[in-house]
């Protein structure tokens, strides 16, 4: 898969404070890459380096196969965490301005802005001043302005913050559409359920260092205990290799396997008992648990 962005041993200091210390990761074309971490972990610094807003003190970086720099800024779009618009301007004028800064002609930017406003149900506020919009409307206008230029790489920093469930679903679908169109997204969010739903791979930063990195499923497996969730008709028989059983609800049980036990053998034993098996799955640790275990308790599983 083509690498869109590569960070190799990147470091950045602000005075005595270390913002990034030898951070490495790569973002591949067409994926949704989760850039995760607690507040102050260095996510925004990574993004600002990528956007050429601040310069790294050390390390190697490449974007679209070339060194970082201003040549790429029409292929990128950035929705910062601290959002804002020109409050005294009309909605359409702000969108056209941002579109023109990304290299669109005025006519093209205007046409695309109208399409986006229509799609987001904001056509009626096209000529309104931004300060007249509700917070949710402003958020949607800003997301639309970010995606207006159909960038090859979208960097979305907390795109769900402040959105109600309906608009959260809308933005989630938009990110899905970006991936479906073969374009790449870097998603920075604290909503771990969204990471599980949307991201292909993640890098988790803590205190300026990369502490977790890899495909989401693999990371979850890495941090999961040997547990199975099964649903059966009737009572659950005693099974070899199972250390303990936690009943979640009638017919559904979580089996904690003994060290070295093989989950496939447990399944075979269960089927051999003749009890009808309705559901069988390996229990993966939620990203939220992993986040807390790594960041708060310093758990390291590579």
């Amino acid at each position: 898969m083509t690498q869109v962005l590569v960070f190799e041993g990147v470091s950045k200091h602000y005075g005595d404070k270390t913002a990034l210390s030898g951070v490495s990761f790569e973002v591949r074309a067409g994926e949704v890459f989760g850039l995760l971490g607690p507040n102050g972990a260095g996510k925004t610094t990574c993004i600002r380096i990528l956007m050429d807003i601040v310069r790294a003190d050390g390390g190697q970086m490449s974007l679209f196969g070339a060194p970082l720099g201003r040549d790429h800024d029409c292929r990128l779009a950035y929705l910062p965490e601290e959002r804002g618009l020109y409050t005294k301007q009309r909605v359409i004028d702000v969108m056209v301005y941002f579109g023109k800064l990304k290299g669109l002609s005025a006519a093209e930017a205007r046409a695309r802005a109208r399409t986006w406003l229509e799609r987001l149900g904001l056509a009626s506020v096209e000529t309104h001043q931004v300060e007249r919009l509700s917070k949710g409307m402003s958020q949607k206008v800003q997301i639309a302005a970010t995606l207006l230029s159909e960038p090859e790489l979208c960097v979305l920093d907390e795109p769900f913050s402040g959105l109600d469930p309906v608009n959260t679903a809308l933005v989630r679908d938009l990110i899905g559409e970006i991936r479906a169109s073969g374009r790449t997204t870097i998603l920075s969010t604290h909503q771990m359920s969204m990471v599980e739903t949307l991201c292909d791979r993640v890098a988790l930063l803590s205190e300026g260092r990369r502490v977790v990195y890899g495909p989401v499923d693999e990371v979850r497996r890495r941090y999961s205990a040997s547990e199975l969730r099964i649903s059966v008709e009737g009572d659950l028989p005693e099974l070899p290799g199972v250390e303990s059983v936690i009943s979640e609800r009638p017919g559904t049980h979580r089996l904690v396997l003994a060290k070295g036990a093989d989950s496939q053998r447990v399944l075979a034993s269960l089927i051999a008992t003749g009890v009808p098996v309705l559901r069988y799955e390996r229990v993966l640790a939620p990203m939220e648990d992993i986040f807390i275990r790594v960041v708060q308790h310093g758990e390291d599983r590579g």
Partner: protein
């Protein structure tokens, strides 16, 4: 620098500023306000003139018998009338009881020996007891000269210079006649230039700082910086908001000229003479000085946390820019003196000084001095723009507590 991005920022800043209600009110309202103010100021002047036209009457008691006037006789000198009283009691009654005179003077018997005159003020004495002194002096001079000297000599003694003719000797020795007000005429360009430059800088600087602080407050800075470089944004702002400020000044200038030509009788008809050297260099100096001061204002103004703070930081440069105005009297009296030479080489004062010196005496400045001063100004402008764009980038991204000067400079050095 990508000029397409600069153009986009320029047009956005210009169009959004000139459409603002505040801008329109100030641009179109200021001349109307100024006219109203001038109209109001004319009222007391007109009333004072009406009072001046009616002769002011003073009493005079002539104990030295110099004036040759009988009791009750009145003599008018310019706008003052002097009524003669035989004694002080009569003058006092006229001053206090009848109130027909504003004050009265007593010319003592020993006036020729001492030159003493006693003035007496009363309840309606206007500007004080010595209000009619100039006219009384003229009356006394006329009477003293009397027939003692020839009428021509007397006339010259009373008004030694009654007709003025002016000539100008050029660098090539050619003598040319010019109006007595030609000197004032030569000041029209430099004064207009200085007015235009400082008004533009103050107006545009205010817009620049306001726009930048608003962007910080509205949190659109990161979006902008992810789409265009700090250099491009700063240049676009300088051009767009400078254009808005200049447009405002030009509208005021056009309105002033319209009034000037519409009501020319109200304005002194000046014999305007402008040195071509000053005309040629003025636009270059204007643009360079604006870029120099505007970028410094923007660079430092970007460190403010809000509009007011930004204005306080940025307007420091506007204050420095007005410094040459304090030296104008010195430059007028000695356009090629030491102070003038020093001011010519300082970037803050060079534009105004150069235009003033070239307007007053273009032949008095050597080509190398003009070229050298211009070179220093251009180099300073280049350095100011470079420094300001780095400060601008650091300032824009700044939130929370302001870092130390050392940290600001360190960040500015490492900015992309």
């Amino acid at each position: 620098m990508r000029w397409r991005k600069v153009r986009t920022v320029t047009w956005f800043e210009l169009s959004s500023t000139v459409r603002r209600l505040g801008y329109l009110i100030v641009t179109l309202g200021m001349p109307v306000f100024s006219l109203l103010y001038a109209g109001l100021a004319l009222i007391p002047a007109k009333l004072a003139k009406d009072r001046e036209d009616a002769p002011r009457i003073y009493g005079v008691v002539d104990r030295a018998a110099l004036l040759g006037l009988g009791d009750g006789e009145v003599i008018v000198v310019r706008s003052a009338g002097f009524r003669c009283y035989g004694d002080e009691a009569g003058a006092r009654g006229a001053l206090v009881d009848e109130r027909v005179i504003r004050s009265y003077f007593v010319v003592p018997a020993d006036y020729l020996e001492t030159g003493r005159v006693l003035a007496h003020t009363g309840p309606a004495s206007g500007l004080g007891p010595w209000e009619g002194r100039a006219e009384l002096s003229e009356l006394l001079r006329t009477r003293l000269l009397g027939t003692r000297v020839e009428p021509k000599v007397a006339a010259r003694l009373l008004e030694p210079i009654s007709g003025r003719e002016t000539f100008r000797v050029g660098g090539d020795g050619q003598v040319e006649a010019e109006g007595a007000d030609a000197f004032i005429g030569r000041l029209v360009l430099p004064i207009g230039f200085v007015f235009l430059l400082f008004t533009s800088i103050l107006m545009s600087g205010s817009y620049l700082i306001q726009a930048t602080a608003t962007e910080k407050e509205n949190r659109v800075v990161e979006v902008l910086l992810s789409s265009a470089s700090a250099d491009e944004i700063m240049t676009g702002k300088l051009l767009g908001l400078g254009g808005a400020g200049l447009l405002q000044v030009l509208i005021w200038l056009a309105m002033t000229l319209a009034v000037r030509f519409g009501f020319s009788q109200l304005v002194l008809p000046l014999n305007v003479q402008i040195a071509w050297q000053a005309v040629a260099i003025a636009p270059v100096l204007f643009i360079t000085a604006y870029a120099f001061l505007g970028s410094l204002m923007l660079g430092t103004g970007s460190f403010g946390g809000n509009v007011r703070e930004s204005q306080q930081l940025g307007m420091f440069w506007a204050f420095l820019a007005t410094l040459p105005l304090m030296f104008v009297p010195l430059l007028l009296t000695d356009p090629h003196g030491l102070i003038a030479h020093v001011l010519t080489w300082i970037p803050f004062s060079a534009p105004a000084t150069l235009v003033l010196r070239l307007s007053l005496d273009p032949d008095g400045m050597s080509v190398w001095e003009v070229a050298g001063s211009l070179a220093v100004l251009v180099l300073s402008t280049w350095a100011a723009v470079r420094l300001a764009s780095r400060l601008f980038r650091v300032g824009l991204m700044l939130t929370g507590a302001r870092p130390s000067l050392r940290e600001i400079l360190r960040q500015a050095r490492s900015a992309p």
